[in-house]
Each structure stands twice: as C-alpha cells, then as structure tokens.
Amino acid sequence: MSDTTAERTDFLARATASGSGKRSFGNKILSIVCVGLAFLTLIPLCSIIFLVLKNGLPLLSLSVFTDLPPAPGLTGGGFGNALIGTLLMVGLALVLATPFGILSAIYVNEYAPASELAKTVRFVAKLLTGIPSIIAGVFAYAVVVLATGGFSAWAGGFALAILVLPTILLTAEQALMGVPKSFREASYGLGATNFQTIWRIVLPDALPAMMTGVMLAVARAAGETAPLLFTALFSQYWIQSLKEPTASLSVLIYNFSTTFDDHQKQMAWTASLVLVVLVTLANISAQVVFRKR
C-alpha cells in the first residue's frame, strides 16, 4: 500500500512542478474532450428514442391496448393479448424466482455467511447474471417444451425466471446487508430467536430495498425476446390457459418487424414504444423505492 501512495505523491509532485499555465490549459482541453465524448454518446441514444417516438406515436391509442393483433392486410387492431402475455410471464417468472432468490439471500447473509454453501451461492449467482438470455431459452426449450410436448406460457415464464433469479438474489443480499447490525443485536438482546429476528426485524427493514431487485427483474424480463422465441412462441388470441402458446410484446415486435405488411410494421414500432415506456417505468420505480429507504 505504501508503495502506491508513494508513487502517487511522486506523480503529484512532478505534476505540481510543471508550468501552471500549461497545466490549466491541458486541464481545460481534457474537460472539453470529456464533455464532448459524453454528448457524442447522446447522439445515437437520441436518434433511437426519436425513431421510436416518430414511428410509434402515430398508431398509439387506447384501442391498441384492448384489441387483438391485426391479421396481415387488415388495419386497426392492437396488442392487448401480447401486453397481458408479457405481464403474465413476467409475473410467473417472479413467482418462480422470488422465493428462491430471497430465501437464498437470507441463508447467505443471515444464517451462514461464512459457509462454503454461502460462498458458492454468491459465486453462482454472479455467474448466472452473465448467462446469455438465449441460453435461458434453449434450456427452457430442453426441459419444458420438449418434456411437455408444446410451447407454453409456463416455458416462457420458466426461461425468464432463470434470467431474473440472480438479480433478485443479489439485490436481496445487498438489502439484508444494509440492515444495521444493532437491529439484530437489539432483537437478540430482547430474547428473540433467529427466526423471529429475521422475520420481524430484518425482513421488514430490508423489504423496500428487496423490492428494488424485484422491479429491476421486471424491467429485465419484460424486454427480453430471445428466451421467449422458442418457449412461449406467439398467439393471435387472448390467453386461455398457461399450457398454450402465449403472445408477448417483444416477440410481437420481432414478428411484426419482419413481415411485409406496413401496418404490422407500424404496430411493431408502437409496441416498441409501449415496451420501452413499461421497462423505463419499472426501472424508475425500482430507484424510487430504493431512494425512500
């Protein structure tokens, strides 16, 4: 450590030694370059957002949320079933992944933080965050679609659950770590058991921060296309059972953007706009909940 500090002091000393006019000039140049690069980055972003708004707004109306997708060659219609399908499968993913994520986080942070299992869980969770989303789709295809003989909302929800499990687990662990030690000590001091302490004291305090993870998971899962392509597939109609192929916004965008039908293409942009807003809202609510803490 002392080496590094010595090097730094040395660097600063040399820096101080150089001419001050040159230094402030160099300083300004670097600042300008940095601000310039930052704004350069905004150009493509603005271009995307502009295209999505420009192409998506014209068809946006209340009826796109309540109507079924238009068949080729017809006008009107919407993506009500796809919106419901997306929400449903994201919900399924949360129902499947949240208990595992939060209970694992409790084990890792409350029961046995130093155990081999806890270390492995942390490591595996970090590795799982890096798994490409299409792999979740391939895996769900192998274990759900091939096993049940058909595409289904279950398969789609399962694929998304694999994707969001590490997000939920890692944020829940962070949330638990954020609970002050003194709370636990006070609880034990009053004679509470481990379970009572976790259930009555630690969890309520960590809950808002855990919700952040859940909302981030919603944001991640809602925008995914690749895991749903071979699992939930798509449907023209309202969903009637979890065992049948199910529409989703992202797959609708993909399907409709690859047809020759201009109206469907336009609808793909409108669906993109809705999806982007949905995901952004989920992200914002995650931050708002977090900030409250």
Binding site: L45, Y254, T280
Partner: protein, 320 residues
C-alpha cells in the same frame, strides 16, 4: 439463543420454526446452485450425440453444412470473440468519459441528470429495436465508410486486410458498433458507481497537494475506482458475447471466416437464433453443443472477471 424469559413450550415452537425456516433457506440456496449445474447438464445431455460424433473437431471445424451433416463452429466462435472485443474498444473510452462526466461537476446537476437518465434509457431498449435502428441508421453509415476505407487502405499492409472489400452493410463492423452502444449503459453505470464511491478525502488530498482536476482524476480517482471499472468492462464483455437479436439482424450471418471488418460474420448466439427454430436431429444436437460452448465461454469470462475484481480489491483496500 438462551431465553429464560420465554416459556418452555414457546421456545420449542420457536426452535421448530427456526429449524424449519433454516432448512427452507438452505434448500433454496442449494437449488440456486443446482440451477447452474442443471443448465450445464441438460444442455450437455442434448448435445451429447454431437459431442460423440465430432469431438474436438466441432471447435476447430470451419464449415457448418446442415445438409451434409458437417458441423464446425470455429467461424462463430471467432465472430463472437471479435465482435465483442471490437465493441469494447469503442464502448470503454466512451462509457468511461460519460461516467467521469456524470461524477464530476463540469455542468450543473440537472444537465447531468438528464444525461444519466438518457443513458439508463438505453438499457431499457429491447435488442430487436436496436436491430431495426441499426438497419436504418448504422448500415448506411458503415457502407459509406467502408467504400472509402477499402480504397484508402488498399496499399497499406495490415489495414488492407482489415478493410478488404466489398463493403457490405451487414458486417462485423456494423454489429460491433451497435453492440458498443448496447453495452455502454453497463459500463457507464458500474463505472460511475465506482467513481462516486471514491472517498472525497482522496480528492481533497490531491487538490491540497496542488494538483489540477484532471491530475486528480487520472492520478488518484481512476486508479482507486479501477476494480469497479474492470468489473464493468467484464460484465459488458459477457453481455456482448451473449447478445442475440440485434446481432442476428446486423452481422450478416455468414459462416465463412474473413479478416475484413467489412465482411459479414456470425456469432454463436446469432447462430442459435437463426437455426434453432427449424433444426432437427443432428443439427439440433450441434446447436445444443454451440449453446454449451457459449455458456462455458460466458462463465469463463465472468469467473475471470470475479478473480480480477477480488485481486484489485485487495490491492486497493488500503487507500479505500
């Protein structure tokens, strides 16, 4: 917990609850670990016929011919590696610049918040929309650049290979540029967190020694935040390798190897997206093997990242 204040029966009940809940949490933890194993085992099982048939030749084979039952993924491995690395080359300086911009006070806070919000919105845009945007905006630009570059570089030794024509729009370069944009939010967000976490005392110390803002940034703040920036880079690399839909729409999906940035290429994830839908028999097994390779690659990158992160954390623990 010895708690004499609570009655005996009560303790028993709590103990029972405690144990049960502890077991439940243990089971959940074990299941999380088992998930990763399950993914690897199941995909390996589905890929087994291809592993038996091709063995290591699957990785070194440069030809992917479904109707001849010849399957080699070398071109897709190379495409995955090059497209992600080139994307990093573009995204790292830009992402870092944005992160520094966000953590310094060059411009008033509201302006920075707008920039931050816009960058975060990038992460919310579905891959397929990036693909559409790439077709509209990036492909024409790359085509213009390519037509110029292949003429300008035709007599320069190495560059003439890298910018060899014909200049297709759907190319490695196009895919890498869009990938760079897609991984930018990851780099920016994690780097910014790391920069903001640098203790104010360090900066004050640097200023007190008479250094300018940029001397402080380059000499003290960036080195201190290095672990976070390395983590950002590695997570971004992992994301780039697995990115699917936009790449499939932009890279040209060729299974032939080429040195040129202007030629079409292919990635493992793109291969899966293109062919999984209509594959059967040995082709399906081979795609599963390609998926297995992709998982192993991304796992390896993430493990390497974790290791680097731990090492750098130890190195900088003293100044933190």
């Amino acid at each position: 917990m010895e708690t004499p204040a609570i009655q005996q029966g009560g303790i028993k009940e709590f103990r029972k609850g405690t144990d049960f809940f502890r077991i439940l949490c243990w089971v959940a933890s074990a299941a999380t670990v088992a998930t990763l194993a399950w993914i690897l085992v199941e995909i390996t099982r589905q890929a087994w016929p291809a592993i038996e048939k091709f063995g290591f030749g699957f990785v070194t084979g440069a030809r992917w011919l479904p109707n001849r039952e010849v399957f080699g993924v070398l071109p897709f491995l190379v495409g995955t590696a090059t497209s992600s690395l080139i994307a990093l080359v573009f995204a790292l300086p830009l992402g870092l610049a944005v992160a520094i911009f966000l953590s310094e006070d060059f411009l008033p806070l509201p302006v920075r918040q707008v920039v931050r919000f816009t960058v975060e919105m990038l992460a919310a845009i579905p891959s397929v929309v990036y693909g559409l945007w790439g077709i509209f905006v990036v492909i024409p630009l790359v085509q213009q650049f390519g037509s110029w570059a292949m003429v300008a570089c035709k007599d320069i030794p190495v560059l003439k290979e890298i910018f060899a024509g014909p200049a297709y729009g759907n190319s490695l370069l196009t895919a890498s540029l869009v990938l760079a944009l897609m991984i930018l939010p990851t780099i920016t967000a994690i780097s910014r967190t790391a920069l903001v976490a640098v203790p104010g005392t360090l900066r004050e110390g640097a200023y007190a020694l008479g250094s300018t803002r940029w001397e402080a940034i380059l000499g003290v703040i960036l080195p201190t935040a290095a672990p976070g920036i390395v983590a950002a880079t590695i997570l971004a690399l992992g994301r780039a390798m697995g990115e699917t839909m936009a790449i499939a729409m932009l890279i040209g999906n060729s299974s032939r190897l080429s040195w040129s940035l202007l030629s079409p290429a292919g990635t493992l994830a793109g291969l899966l997206a293109n062919q999984f839908g209509e594959a059967e028999g040995l082709q399906m097994n081979s795609l599963m093997l390609a998926a297995l390779l992709l998982v192993i690659l991304t796992l390896f990158v993430n493990m390497a990242g974790e290791a680097v992160l731990r090492y750098t954390e130890k190195q900088t623990a003293g100044i933190r």
